[in-house]
């Protein structure tokens, strides 16, 4: 490491200021006469469309019967660098399912949207969805529970998981 000292004793400031003003004026005139190519949007009336692969709010996928796919293996919670996932596991009455989460909470304000939970999940139970505009009135609104993660209105009854245990067993795996 070294300390960089700039010898600015003889610097002229005025050319720099004018260069800046020219850039500003250039953009102003361009936007005035060419409104369609303007980058800024009139949010929230106009919204930017992100790619469908954008990593936004989490989705818990569901099985064919609409039940939650998650098996409460806690790999997402283990992998989470922000420590924002809390799962409480319980015994499922169906012996083939065996274990399922009775509580699954993600603290959206702690989440850094890294997608490690999605990568860790062995059963495609959690995904990062394209939604990103989620206002809330206070901190409690940002702790998403199972209902919000799996069955919020935007998901239209739940996103189906690609991995199904019954299919897997039928295939003999």
């Amino acid at each position: 490491m070294a300390v960089v000292t700039k010898n600015n004793d003889n610097a002229w400031y005025l050319p720099g200021i004018f260069t800046g003003l020219v850039i500003t004026m250039k953009h102003l005139l361009k936007n005035l006469f060419n409104k369609k190519q303007m980058i800024t949007l009139n949010y929230p009336e106009e919204k930017h469309e992100y790619s469908p692969r954008f990593k936004g709010n989490h989705i818990l996928t569901v099985k064919k019967d609409g039940a939650i796919r998650c098996t409460a293996c806690m790999l997402c919670a283990t992998n989470c660098p922000a420590d924002c996932i809390k799962i409480t596991a319980s015994e499922h009455p169906d012996a083939q399912v065996e274990k399922f989460p009775i509580a699954y909470e993600i603290d959206m304000l702690r989440c850094v949207f890294c997608g490690f939970c999605e990568e860790a999940c062995p059963v495609d139970a959690i995904r990062l969805g394209p939604e990103w505009q989620t206002p809330g009135l206070n901190g409690a609104n940002f702790i998403y529970d199972i209902n919000q993660l799996a069955y919020r209105p935007a998901l239209k009854g739940g996103i189906q998981s690609v991995l199904d245990d019954q299919d897997r067993h039928k295939a003999g795996i």
């Binding site: 098996t71 293996c73 283990t78 596991a89 319980s90 015994e91 274990k99 062995p122 059963v123 003999g172």
Partner: protein, 536 residues
């Protein structure tokens, strides 16, 4: 008796001298050599069914199993060659033919023998095209255990345990071929006092404990060595805990005390340690009402003021066999020297069954340290009779009563009765780790002070077991940080400040402070800490 003859052999290039009659796997495990195995357990007979402990012996064209081969003079053994690794790899692949892929829902994941060995020897590219054999899942074997037949690799450890150790013969292997599975006979569930040992020795997740099932993933838990305080046997145990509390207890090997096993009752000893059932704050009952909760230290200070004004004869102390020798020493010497009283009473629970013993581990004396208490009392020349206490309270001779109450309330059937006796004292100072709701309903003009104590996992100390064997243990975790140990309580009662043991940096990082199974840098380099997780 003939002298023990030592014979020479070479294992993986290391020359060893072992006792005659040892098998290869015994010699290897005693000399910290790693060998894959499932069915062999040092506490059980040899079965030789898992075929995983393959070794190459010089002069022998084929690989042999190490668990059933006795070492002979000059034997040269190798289990690191490509031939052995190949044999283990294929053996493992055959174990996994019908094993379901349900590690995500399996409680054993993280300390599973299959996972460990697969990391080391796995084929990673299975060639088995046949459909998996489906078997029963979530089978209720008894009050404590759930079986998953699919996960079972038929090592028969649990079957041998019930036939050799408990001799109850509940478990057996039924059916043939790939239909074989572990099971119990109709109307005879796996219900004995040592049943949870089968969960410990199960190398896979086939047997899981109902109590621990789905509570935590094992990689969230830390473990620490301690001594069981369930009875006077003093089994060496490990407690598994995280910041939320203690979740399970497992045995640790000590051939002089408990061997490899512990009882199911001892596994419940974590239940009175956790926050939900603990006394968290000091509280006082005075002028007919329970007053606001106060800090434990403040409550003891008040008790000290009251005691220091009383005369020696009017003070009495009640001790149970549930505390450590260090605490008894501090308490008894404080009351002996500072308050000049010889009224130290021993609260004996279930007197009738005190001497009973079930032949394996369980003893009738449900206190870990009765012997330690009696030794300390004898050392200070105290021989008070319990009836003196009752008479003293009745006649009003004893006005200040200090009780160090039990941690393990279920083994004190006379709790309610004795609390009623204690509550007749003018000033009752009750130190307890457990919340005592029975005292809360109390209504009289007497004064009661409740002060939280620490439990056995939260303090250093020594228990003297029924044999007179003193076993020291270290603090595992802290659950109620405000609670006091008996030593601290005695110091505060005597009016002095709590002395914290000074430890210099040099003392802290000595080999005495290191655990035997501590993961060192070289282990990390070889990824060995994964291999030994949860091993018994």
């Amino acid at each position: 008796m003939s002298p023990i003859t030592l014979i020479k052999c070479t294992i993986n290039g290391v020359e060893l001298e072992v006792k005659q009659g040892k098998t290869i796997i015994e010699a290897m495990s005693e000399n910290a050599q790693r060998i894959a195995h499932y069915c062999w357990h040092p506490g059980l007979s040899i079965a030789g069914v898992c075929r995983l402990c393959m070794v190459e012996i010089e002069g022998n064209p084929r690989v042999q199993i190490a668990c059933n081969t006795v070492i002979t003079e000059g034997m040269k053994i190798n289990n690191t060659s490509a031939k052995v690794r190949d044999a283990v790899k294929w053996g493992l692949d055959f174990h996994l033919i019908n094993h379901p892929l349900d590690c995500p829902v399996c409680d054993q994941a993280g300390e599973c023998g299959l996972q460990d060995q697969y990391m080391e020897y796995g084929k990673y590219d299975p060639e088995m095209a046949e459909r998996k054999q489906r078997k029963r899942k979530v089978v209720d074997l008894g009050p404590t255990i759930v079986l998953d037949s699919e996960r079972c690799i038929l090592c028969s450890r649990c079957v041998r345990f019930t036939s050799e150790i408990t001799k109850t013969h509940e478990l057996g292997i039924f059916s043939r071929g790939d239909h074989s599975e572990i099971g119990t006979h109709d109307g005879k569930p796996l219900d004995n006092k040592y049943s949870l040992n089968t969960v410990d020795i199960c190398p896979v997740g086939a047997l899981t404990s109902k109590d621990f099932r789905f509570k935590q993933r094992v990689w969230y838990l830390k473990d620490a060595d301690t001594i069981c305080n369930g009875c006077s046997t003093g089994c060496n145990t490990k407690v598994y805990f995280n910041k939320e509390g203690v979740f399970r207890v497992k045995p640790r090997v000590n051939m002089e005390v408990n061997g490899h096993w512990m009882c199911d009752e001892g596994r419940d000893t974590y239940k009175f340690v956790n926050k939900e059932v603990r006394l968290l704050k000091g509280q006082k009952f005075a002028n007919g009402t329970w007053q606001a909760e106060m800090h434990a230290g403040a409550a003891v200070k008040d008790a000290h003021l009251a005691l220091s004004q009383a005369s020696g004869d009017s003070i009495a102390v009640v001790l149970t066999g549930q505390h450590t020798v260090e605490e008894y020493e501090a308490i008894v010497s404080t009351f002996n020297d500072k308050f000049k009283t010889k009224n130290v009473f021993h609260w004996v629970n279930n007197k009738e069954s005190f001497e009973s013993f079930d032949g394996l581990l369980l003893r009738g004396d449900k206190n870990p340290n009765t012997k330690g208490l009696l030794d300390v009392l004898a050392k200070h020349g105290i021989s008070s009779q319990w009836k003196n206490l009752e008479e003293g309270l009745k006649s009003g001779k004893i006005t200040h009563l200090v009780v160090f109450g039990p941690e393990n309330l279920p083994v004190f059937p006379d709790l309610q009765q004795n609390l009623n006796i204690f509550a007749t004292a003018k000033n009752l100072i009750y130190f307890t780790s457990a919340a005592i709701p029975q005292l809360k309903n109390h209504a009289s003009s007497n004064q009661i002070t409740l002060i939280p104590l620490k439990t056995y996992v939260e303090k250093d100390g020594t228990f003297v077991n029924f044999q007179g064997k003193a076993q020291s243990f270290k603090r595992a975790t802290t659950i109620v940080s405000e609670a006091l140990t008996g030593v601290e309580a005695a110091q505060l009662l005597a009016g002095s400040e709590i002395r914290i043991k000074q430890v210099t940096e040099k003392q802290l990082f000595t080999s005495a402070h290191e655990r035997k199974d501590q993961v060192q840098l070289e282990h990390r380099k070889k990824n060995e800490f994964v291999f030994n997780r949860g091993r018994l």
